[in-house]
């Protein structure tokens, strides 16, 4: 009987495609918007992710996200180093600076100052130049996207010179780096160089990066650091979650995307539901005939649900497929952030299940109450 249900459904091509379109539209919108949202959220923690090596970030107790810089005292580095369980700790600067380029134009830059001695915090995706070149005076490394923004269409060239805070900056390397929320170029340099590029302030230390001793859990060392120094110490994962949570809770980004996702859900349900109901009404005499011939209500219910499931599967596949294609096709053309983790697929699947259930509810009710005697009326 399920086979009959599917043949009834696909036999009416126009209605079938209409129902599938409704589900596909909803799945596409939900998956695409959720993926863009996830992409934007991943931008917010890109710089945390790029700093490989240290598992612990130490910061002012009031810092809420990676870009929320509340400078520490220089002595805080030594306080963290003295906490039992800390293997090592280094300084890390994060700020912004305005750079004056060769042609006289200005660009806002994200400035990252890594430990002078160990270069911990340096980018791992260097594809031109050597990290050791950072020990040279005035040496900086720039990210690939930033280079293309400042010198669009020009070939990669090391040795370019520009100014930051009236100080010379010499480009010695280029690196791949995660895009940031602000989409500014990223400059890596030594900590001692970075504080010269930065505006003059009494305190400049942004973060202390630390590593727990072997065999110790990073979370427990974080707690010790907090207890002993009063500073906020978070593992890398914790800091990423905290940053994402800040953008979820304190900005309008999730609301905007949530509205679009909700609209996609509602419109998809409306289109699929209306078309599904029309399909059922058009076939009501056939359902009545099946009932007259001895098909039970339970079987009729299974038939309708199987029809709903079928359009759900097809619509879901087309919708997420189109969303994935959208993300893949725009990755080189635009700066659109797009990230489709399995959670987006799962969320979309749940939404599609709800859509087809809601869309089929009216139809289910209609066929369950249809009187088999209807077939005896002309």
């Amino acid at each position: 009987m399920l086979w009959i249900a599917w043949k009834m459904l696909t036999g009416n091509r126009v209605k079938y495609l209409g129902i599938v379109f409704g589900v596909m539209f909803a799945a596409l919108l939900i998956a695409q918007q959720s993926s863009i949202f996830c992409g934007i959220m991943s931008l917010t923690v890109g710089q945390i992710r790029d700093v490989e090596g240290p598992d612990i970030w130490v910061m002012d107790r009031n810092v809420e996200f990676i870009d929320d810089i509340k400078p520490l005292a220089d002595t805080d580095l030594f306080r963290v180093k003295s906490v039992p369980g800390v293997e090592w700790a280094v300084r890390f600067y994060k700020g912004t600076s305005r750079a004056r380029m060769e042609k006289g134009d200005f660009h806002q830059m994200i400035l990252l100052g890594i430990d002078d001695a160990t270069l911990i915090g340096a980018p791992q995706g260097l594809f031109m130049g050597e990290l050791s070149e950072l020990r040279k005076p005035d040496a900086v490394v720039m990210d690939d996207a930033g280079y293309k923004m400042i010198w669009p269409g020009e070939p990669y060239q090391l040795g370019r010179v520009f100014e930051m805070n009236d100080r010379r900056a010499l480009l010695v390397g280029l690196t791949k780096a995660s895009r940031t929320f602000q989409s500014f170029p990223i400059i890596y340099t030594r900590y001692s160089q970075a504080v010269l590029y930065a505006p003059l302030e009494r305190k400049v230390l942004s973060f202390v990066l630390a590593q727990p001793q072997a065999g110790l859990a990073a979370e427990s060392v974080c707690q010790r650091i907090t207890q002993q120094t009063g500073l906020q110490a978070l593992t890398r994962e914790q800091f990423m979650r905290k940053t994402i949570y800040h953008f979820l809770a304190k900005t309008g980004v999730p609301v905007n995307f949530g509205i679009t996702v909700l609209l996609g859900f509602i419109v998809g349900t409306a289109i699929a539901g209306q078309t599904f109901y029309l399909f059922t009404v058009e076939n009501i005499r056939q359902f009545g005939a099946l009932k007259a011939m001895g098909t039970s209500n339970w079987t009729i219910l299974l038939m309708v649900l199987s029809q709903a499931l079928q359009v759900g599967v097809v619509g879901y596949g087309l919708g997420v497929g189109l969303a994935a294609f959208f993300g893949w096709s725009t990755r080189g053309l635009t700066k659109l952030a797009f990230f489709m983790p399995w959670q987006v697929l799962a969320l979309t699947a749940i939404a599609v299940v709800l859509i087809v259930l809601l869309a089929s509810l009216l139809s289910i009710r209609r066929v369950l109450v249809v009187d088999p005697a209807i077939v005896f009326r002309g």
Binding site: I4, M8, R285, L290, M293, G294, T295, A373, V375, F376
Partner: protein
């Protein structure tokens, strides 16, 4: 003549009847609505339909023919009265029991054919077997044999939209008898057909559908088909006004064969 039992692979078999009656209706009434909008569709109907007989229910529109046959088929509850069909008291059955009873014992030929437009002729004819749980291939095979006997052997893979009205009605007849029901209900089987196709349809019903262990009830207001009936019950205003012996009875009995 005592009815022959259908093969034991079907459920819900009836007990042997003392009398040779497939349908016995006594004092059946049916009201629709209430109060000021009350409509008495049936007003105390008594009727017997023996096995091996084609009974035509005739009368003008609104006289209660369809209501009566709906009650006999188990798709409508009477307001009062008793309906014994194939030895079973329909009034004492639950809805699920009636559904199963119809599945195993009743075949329908509808006025508008009610074929499933997405299914081929063979698949449509196989529907009662599929409802009964048969495997698709086996059901379609059996249905194809029946269609072949009805002269549609070369139309098995056609959709209803590719068949003429008469061919569609033959598919509907095949569907109605494929599961060897013991009661066949035909509701205005010729109303959508021209005279020639209507006559062919009734000939098929008379030759193939009417069997010694099966009763056939045909609801119609088309007087052209009266000649095929064993008996004709004329209804008026919710009552059976007259029951006449049909012209067909005398000549057909010696031609009818056991299945």
């Amino acid at each position: 003549m005592t009815p022959q039992h259908a093969p034991s692979d079907q459920s819900q078999r009836t007990l042997p009847l003392v009398e040779d009656v497939a349908v016995r209706v006594r004092g059946v009434t049916k009201d629709f609505g209430a109060g000021g909008s009350l409509t008495k569709a049936l007003r105390g109907v008594d009727l017997d339909v023996p096995y091996g007989e084609m009974l035509i229910l005739a009368g003008p529109s609104g006289c209660g023919k369809t209501t009566l046959v709906s009650i006999v088929a188990g798709t409508l509850e009477p307001t009062a009265g008793e309906a014994l069909v194939l030895g079973k008291d329909l009034g004492s059955m639950s809805n699920s029991q009636k559904v199963q009873f119809r599945r195993d014992n009743v075949g329908f030929v509808f006025q508008s054919y009610n074929l499933l437009p997405a299914l081929t002729a063979a698949e449509n004819a196989a529907v009662p077997l599929l409802i009964a749980g048969w495997r698709r291939r086996q059901a379609v095979e059996v249905a194809s044999d029946v269609l072949d006997r009805l002269g549609l052997g070369d139309r098995l893979a056609r959709l209803p939209s590719e068949l003429s009205g008469g061919q569609q009605q033959r598919v509907a007849i095949a569907r109605a008898i494929v599961h060897k029901p013991r009661l066949l209900v035909c509701d205005e089987p010729t109303s959508a057909l021209d005279a020639q196709n209507g006559r062919i349809t009734m000939e098929l019903i008379a030759q193939i559908a009417v069997q010694p262990d099966r009763a056939v009830i045909v609801v119609t207001h088309d007087s052209r088909v009266y000649s095929f009936a064993d008996r004709i019950a004329t209804m008026e205003d919710g009552r059976i006004e007259a029951v006449e012996v049909g012209l067909h009875r005398g000549s057909v009995q010696k031609d009818r064969q056991c299945s």
